[in-house]
């Protein structure tokens, strides 16, 4: 097991920099579809050439999430998923050869319950490289960002189309690893197209920071990724992947692998 290094993100983004097409960051809810599926899914995402992976630690009241991620989270909770167990799934994947960067996404209440310091330490020990908390705006984030930083884990904040550029600069100053750009005013969930507001946000982010930009919320198809070439360094794809897993067969890993390859625009062998 390798300890967390904010450097894992740096290296991954540096390697992807020349390619043009944004790297893929698949999102999986820990404990979905089954309690033991998460580590194999992360490894499948790695095999498919993902730039990084995001693991959702489910919370009972996920305000920023649409129906797909909500129901994946509830299903995981019903089957006994806990924050500690979700974190240990990443450690298990690291032990089995996962080398791509991993970010954990969760809400602030489970973090407060575990204790900010204990949470940061557990993430670092499990090989989690960054943490995304969508209900923790910059005004409330100093404590968590400091604890994560002390453990070498990146605090990855979000910016949205409604965020003024001056505020983007303020948020970016607290960021490490990358900056999470929310593509829509809305919750997570697969959407038909990438909004002009998303492209505008990506431009505004670039005007105030050199950090890599990952665009998330709504990205679901290879055409979206293609169209984002030159606009961002990565895309996060969650709901569309979970939908595919939910409606697919009994091998979630194979579904995820195929799905990520399609997003990357490479064939089965790529």
């Amino acid at each position: 097991m390798t300890a967390a290094t904010a450097g894992r993100f740096e290296a991954a983004f540096a390697a992807g920099a020349a390619g043009g097409r944004p790297g893929i960051i698949p999102y999986v809810t820990a404990g979905f579809p089954g309690p033991d599926d998460t580590a194999p899914l992360l490894l499948a995402c790695q095999r498919a050439g993902s730039l990084a992976a995001e693991v959702g630690i489910p919370f009972s009241d996920p305000l920023a999430d649409g129906p797909t991620i909500q129901s994946a989270g509830w299903r995981a909770l019903e089957q006994g998923m806990t924050p500690a167990r979700a974190i240990s799934e990443v450690a298990r994947a690291r032990d089995a050869g996962l080398t791509i960067p991993v970010a954990a996404m969760t809400y602030i209440n489970p973090v407060l319950t575990m204790g900010i310091e204990a949470f940061a330490g557990a993430c670092a020990a499990a090989g989690i490289d960054g943490v995304i908390v969508p209900d923790l705006p910059v005004e409330e984030a100093a404590g968590l960002a400091a604890s994560l930083g002390a453990h070498g884990v990146a605090h990855i904040p979000l910016v949205a189309p409604t965020t003024p550029t001056s505020r983007v600069a303020r948020v970016a100053a607290t960021a490490a690893g990358f900056i999470y750009c929310v593509s829509v005013t809305g919750t997570t969930g697969a959407r038909e197209s990438v909004s002009p507001a998303a492209l505008d946000l990506l431009e505004r982010v670039r005007s105030v920071t050199a950090l890599p930009r990952a665009l998330g919320f709504g990205i679901s198809r290879p055409e979206h990724v293609e169209a984002l070439t030159g606009h961002c360094e990565a895309v996060v794809v969650g709901s569309a992947l979970l939908d595919a897993i939910a409606s697919g067969g009994d091998d979630p890993g194979a579904i995820a692998e195929r799905f990520v390859r399609e997003l990357r625009g490479v064939g089965a062998a790529g």
Binding site: L63, P110, T113, D135, E139, R167, G186
Partner: protein, 396 residues
């Protein structure tokens, strides 16, 4: 975790980034409007000429005799138009939203009283109104659902989680995240991210401001104790605020003990919860060992909520108010007593406050006065009471 909008260590604004600018805009609009005499005059006009304020202070004569102790006085928010204190806040917020140029109004509702109040004000201004309501609450508050339809609002059922107020609030916030450009979210209690707890308190403090004035006029004295039920806590903050500086006035909030605290089936966040973040605020919260929000139970839909307004958490820490609980059964018995003895059918929420007021009146003894916030009338609860009490039964 430090920012504006704190009550002691509680409160704050834990929301998705998308909403941060909207909350800042709301705070600025709130400060500007509340400092503008024209806005206050407009609000007062609606409160007095439309909503029916001021509400009376009524001596519960026979109930007082039956308890044999302190006098029990009722602040009659049940007489506010639409039948509960909720209209005070809905009027204030919709007037503010209009000033901000918002054309669409959303709300969450539990008992349906806040939904009806919001739908009512939207009808007055011809505004689009969408109300989120848990499927379970839609079932037990059918009358209010129908009323909202009559008033031109769209009620959207919420099927997630426990299908009650918590889940309706989640959906309302998700709607707001999506439609924040043209939409104002009229939150129904002193909960949610800053500036909502402060905003709602401002619009509800009229309850206590009036009651304090009425007390001094009628009795030449202040009450010994002020009692109110606490769901999110808006009627309680509303009646407490005017008395905060009156150190001799005891303030008592009543949470729903449901089937009993020991059964785990209750909604008593301050009594049995620990601090956490729900719906954008840090306050007491019913949650499990992993920080997942727990399901709650109360016979009254308006108290069936796992959180509580952050100011109540701070008032308790500061020992300025104390918080006690009342079970479904105790509330029902007080419900029936008020019907039979005073000719007033109270809301089940308010019946929780009544039960504790009766208890305190006995303890205080004659020569004292207990002031109860009778937050609403019980028409909406008739089906619930009929189901649990049996047809024709009185004092169960």
């Amino acid at each position: 975790m430090t920012t504006a909008g704190r009550f002691g260590i509680y409160g704050g604004a834990f929301v998705p980034e998308t909403l941060v600018p909207a909350l800042e805009e709301l705070e600025a609009a709130m400060n500007e409007a509340l400092a503008d005499p024209a806005f206050i005059a407009e609000l007062d006009g609606w409160l007095y000429d439309y909503a029916g304020r001021p509400t009376p202070l009524t001596l519960a004569r026979r109930l007082t005799e039956a308890c044999g102790g302190a006098e029990i006085w009722l602040k009659r928010e049940d007489l506010v138009h639409t039948g509960a204190h909720k209209l005070n806040n809905a009027l204030g917020q919709v007037l503010l939203a209009r000033r901000m140029g918002k054309t669409r109004i959303i709300a969450e509702t539990g008992a349906g009283q806040h939904g009806v109040a919001t739908a009512t004000v939207c009808a007055c201004f011809g505004l689009e109104c969408v109300v989120y309501m848990g499927r379970e609450d839609i079932r037990r508050q059918a009358l209010n659902v129908y009323k909202m339809g009559l008033l031109g609002a769209e009620v959207r059922p919420v099927d997630s989680g426990s299908r009650t107020l918590k889940d309706a609030t989640n959906e309302a916030i998700r709607d707001w995240v999506t439609n924040v450009e043209n939409t104002h979210y009229v939150i129904g209690s002193v909960v949610g991210p800053h500036p909502y707890p402060t905003l709602v308190k401002r619009f509800q403090r009229v309850i206590g401001d009036e009651a304090r004035r009425q007390a001094l006029q009628r009795w030449g004295a202040l009450p010994d104790t002020v009692v109110a039920c606490v769901g999110g806590g808006s009627n309680a903050i509303g009646i407490f605020t005017a008395f905060l500086e009156d150190e001799d006035v005891e303030l008592v909030g009543v949470e729903a003990a449901g089937r009993g605290i020991e059964t785990g089936e209750h909604a008593a966040s301050l009594e049995a919860g620990r601090p956490g973040v729900l719906h954008g605020a840090y306050s007491y919260l019913l949650q499990d060992a992993n920080g997942q929000v727990r399901e709650t139970h109360s016979i009254s839909a308006g108290l069936d909520y796992p959180g509580v307004g952050p100011e109540h958490a701070a008032l308790r820490d500061a020992e300025r108010a104390r918080y006690v609980t009342c079970t479904d059964g105790e509330a029902l018995r007080s419900f029936h007593r008020l019907c039979r003895m005073e000719g007033i059918i109270p809301a089940l929420e308010s019946s929780h406050a009544l039960a504790v007021a009766e208890r305190l009146a006995r303890e205080l003894g004659p020569g004292h006065r207990v002031l109860v916030c009778l937050s609403g009338r019980g028409d909406k609860d008739i089906d619930t009471v009929r189901a649990v009490s049996g047809a024709g039964e009185g004092d169960s």
